[in-house]
Subunit: 295 residues, 2 copies
């Protein structure tokens, strides 16, 4: 058994949800961390996290929690990050490395630069490409990041030692490290993640608000269920992501509107050929680029 000396004596997870909780569990399993302090707004969620061994100690004051930490992971919705950075900045010790798990990066990096001030070189922006439609500490599990991409976005100022620690932690979680530029990151995940979420929420909203929603949805099969699985995700988290990344998301949404308008025009004209061309090319794209991915 691997009993290597923990490299992280104190890990602070701010926002002990699916991501933050799974990060803590994975590092515990890898015996890389000695103590995990969880910070959150919901007492119930913190109690769940304590009971399930996700964290060892619960704290409601982020500034108090981060004192003498080796690593702080900010796993809160991105809209809360500026406030969290501002709150913890004065309490950070010089050696404390800060990282995040936010789904948008340009806004988080700008907020960290502004609010962490002289501590910014110890901040390592990151984004694990993993998740389920469940949220909260109770949904966390240590294998969540295995074989998943972890996007790392060190900035010019980022200290090598800080980068090394964050890299090592994510490698211990089983993730594949990938580097991206923040603007490219936001465009890519706007397209492959944020846009599908908006579409799934919009479709369920449309059907769910009908008077006959119960009867209607009672007839649905596996197709609709899979299509809107991600509409089970946290509304608050996704509100924040969409607002933070709206510069990329609005043109993407315009692209979807144009596709659906084209499908509508073909339908209204009874133009089966135009529809088939769209369907066939979509099916080919899926077969070519979406089927080889690991589940």
């Amino acid at each position: 058994m691997n009993v290597a000396k923990p490299r992280i004596r104190k890990l602070v997870v701010i926002g002990v949800g699916l991501i933050g909780g799974s990060f803590a569990l994975a590092l515990k399993k890898a015996r890389l961390v000695k103590e995990v302090v969880g910070v959150g707004r919901s007492r119930k969620n913190l109690n769940d996290a304590l009971r399930l061994g996700v964290i060892d100690k619960a704290e409601t004051d982020a500034a108090k929690a981060v004192v003498d930490a080796d690593l702080v992971l900010v796993g809160a919705p991105v809209g809360q990050m500026p406030g969290i950075f501002a709150r913890i900045a004065p309490a950070l010790s010089q050696q404390t490395v800060v990282t995040d798990a936010g789904s948008t990066k340009q806004d988080v990096i700008a907020a960290a630069r502004r609010h962490l001030g002289s501590h910014f070189p110890m901040f390592v922006p990151a984004h694990p490409i993993a998740g389920t439609e469940h949220s909260g500490a109770a949904a966390a599990f240590p294998e969540l990041f295995r074989d998943r991409n972890l996007i790392l976005l060190p900035q010019q100022e980022t200290k090598a030692a800080a980068l090394r620690l964050v890299r090592a932690a994510w490698l211990a979680c089983g993730a594949n490290i990938v580097r991206l530029d923040a603007a490219e990151h936001d465009e890519i995940f706007g397209a492959v993640s944020h846009l599908p979420h908006v579409i799934a929420f919009a479709l369920v909203h449309q059907l769910g608000k009908r008077r006959d929603a119960k009867r209607l949805l009672g007839f649905s099969g596996g197709g609709l269920r899979d299509t809107v699985r991600i509409a089970g995700s946290s509304p608050e988290m996704w509100r924040d992501i969409c607002i933070a990344n709206r510069e990329a998301l609005v043109p993407l949404l315009d692209g979807t509107l144009a596709e659906l308008e084209a499908a509508r025009a073909a339908l209204a004209a009874g133009d089966g050929e135009a529809l088939e061309v769209m369907f066939r090319s979509a099916r080919q794209a899926r077969a070519r680029w979406l089927l080889k991915k690991p589940q």
Copy 2:
């Protein structure tokens, strides 16, 4: 072991795909059928069906195949059904029951009424709510319909004996029989099935046609993969369904466009509250009406 005498000496399946093939396999497994004759356009698919024991005999001429059949299942794309009905009508024996598995019902019933002529009372319109994104005889399996809804739509003229046989066959497949009016059927499945398919095809089409599609989709996670799983379905089949049900589908698509326009307006205005209201209500609808369904 149940060795009851087969109630169907000769079953003819026109269109030996996922649905038609699974129907044949389920009835064979239930020992309800003696001989299955498969009719199709693709020699390769018929050979697969023969090799896999889905059918016992292959035939390319539907009119020749249906002679002396007890039951004929038309499992072809709905756009082909008028031609198939017209082709088989003169060859049907008086006792032959005809049924279908089309995803749209008003058009199929109208086509049967027109082309089956005096045989129309022996036609029992039906729609099994089952499927995967795979097509062809090789994708068929006998458990496909177990615990799934089978929509039965007998018309005023439909003979009781014909209805009894089709009902018994689907019960033997493990399906739950549900009756619906054809117009209500088309509205319901327009909403919970045809609309999500159009949306999934449109989204993959949008992303797949980009120059950076390969790199972009390489970063996708399980969210996008599930959202567009049904974009792997047969383009021809879905072209036919969408065109056949366009009267219901166009207003539904308008509803989706309105939802996405609302999301776009909220995003452009930075109105997080409006987005969150939509997301939250969608999430609630999903939890209330979509999570209790069997997988």
